[in-house]
């Protein structure tokens, strides 16, 4: 009886140790993998059309969902912002509210979340299936480096697309806010734009938003290619890799957003 209890406790401790060990090992592999991508990037840029192809697949094909979501979010911001601002008699500040919340936060964050679920998951599925069907091993056998040929182009395609998508999201969102605020509700057009231009700073707001989306792009793309490369090569393993891509990307985006925001907008 005593031996049984002791063995149970020992087993539990071993289980915790095993998990921590696994997590650390995965983290170490992810770091090494990131370095490998950077090292082999030069080799993959020599065949630039590979990266261009990935920009097409993850950037261009995400345009529709980004634009439509941005328009809707801008319109909702316009309605909600007007509802709150008109209580204080300052509905002309609607442009400021819409533009600041989009360029600083919503543009980079929401477009990165959409990008993770639209493009990140498909990258993971693609690489995971390539691994499951032993295409990556076959490439290795033919002396083609799978990281330079498959992984790095997908990584850079995501990293380069993300800031452009976020900027498009913010721009179309501002337009959506304009549609609801000025065209539908009837806020004064001059005040809407001029107050916006007076309060939105290019460096502080727009540029910081672009920097944010670039960081999110690196995080999402890295998670997506890593989860695909690290997938257990079975149908079940690939499916749980895709799930992890979406979950980890969302968590990474929101956590990084907190860190970046606290660096960028301290007390101003």
């Amino acid at each position: 009886m005593r031996d049984g209890a002791l063995a149970f406790v020992a087993g539990m401790i071993r289980g915790i140790g095993h998990r921590v060990n696994d997590a650390l090992q995965t983290l170490g592999f992810a770091a090494r993998f990131f370095m490998m991508i950077l090292v082999y990037s030069g080799q993959s840029f020599r065949r630039l059309h590979l990266t261009l192809r990935e920009i097409y697949f993850s950037g261009f094909q995400s345009l529709l969902i980004i634009l439509v979501s941005g328009l809707f979010i801008g319109m909702v911001l316009g309605m909600q912002g007007y509802e709150t601002l008109q209580r204080y008699g300052s509905s002309e500040a609607l442009g400021v509210l819409v533009a600041l919340s989009l360029t600083r936060e919503l543009g980079p964050v929401v477009s990165a979340l959409l990008f993770a679920s639209r493009a990140g998951s498909s990258i993971t599925a693609e690489i995971g299936l390539m691994k499951a069907t032993e295409q990556l091993t076959a490439m290795d056998m033919m002396a083609v480096n799978p990281i330079a040929r498959v992984v790095a182009p997908r990584f850079w395609g995501g990293v380069l697309s993300m800031p452009l998508l976020a900027a498009l999201f913010s721009a179309i969102g501002v337009f959506g806010g304009y549609l609801v605020g000025v065209v539908l509700i009837g806020v004064d057009q001059g005040a809407f734009w001029s107050q916006m231009q007076g309060s939105v700073d290019f460096e502080l707001d727009v540029l910081n938003g672009i920097i944010k989306s670039f960081v999110f792009g690196v995080a999402v793309s890295l998670i997506a290619v890593f989860e695909g490369y690290d997938a257990v090569p079975t149908a079940e393993g690939v499916s749980s890799s895709i799930k992890r891509t979406v979950v980890y990307s969302a968590l990474a985006i929101l956590a990084l957003d907190l860190v970046l925001t606290s660096f960028m907008f301290r007390g101003i």
Partner: protein, 156 residues
């Protein structure tokens, strides 16, 4: 997929993305008026700057002519030292009056410059001689109530 068509769509995507950044910079952020081409620095000392912030506007006759770049505390005289950059096209007389004003009743605070009549202009790095501190609403209300309280018995 045809490589030419692929390039076309990627080019379209990049062009639209940069157009969006341009839109954010020019239409939303108004990059042109925020930066002055050539600037010089002036500073002013205030007893109380109220809620003035770094990057706040400096206005003369209602026109933005500069920005606040630094707010420091002078431990010797217990004063606030406000440094601002002024558009290089504008120069102000020596006896210009710098005061901290509020836009609207509860709006943001800014520095207002009232030009004086001196023939000599302020040189870069010089200090405004005449300043007026921010109006603190609590002090104003306190003064008003004090005055009211002291005049009630006299009027009876």
């Amino acid at each position: 997929m045809n490589r030419k068509l692929l390039d076309l769509w990627v080019g379209f995507f990049v062009a639209v993305g940069f157009a969006a950044i341009l839109f954010l910079a020019l239409r939303v952020g108004n990059v042109s008026s925020a930066n002055f081409a050539e600037t010089y620095r002036l500073s002013a000392k205030f007893d109380n700057i109220g809620g003035l912030k770094v990057r706040g506007p400096v206005k003369s006759a209602g026109v933005v002519v500069g920005r606040v770049v630094e707010i420091a505390f002078d431990a010797q005289n217990y004063e606030a030292v406000v440094t601002m950059t002024i558009d290089g096209r504008y120069h102000f007389p020596r006896d210009t009056f710098a005061s901290i004003l509020t836009a609207g009743l509860l709006g943001e605070q800014y520095i207002g410059l009232d030009a004086g009549g001196d023939e000599k202009m302020l040189q870069p790095g010089e200090v405004f001689a005449k300043t007026q501190s921010a109006v603190v609403l609590e002090k104003l209300i306190g003064q008003f109530m004090f005055n009211k309280a002291s005049e009630t018995p006299a009027s009876k």
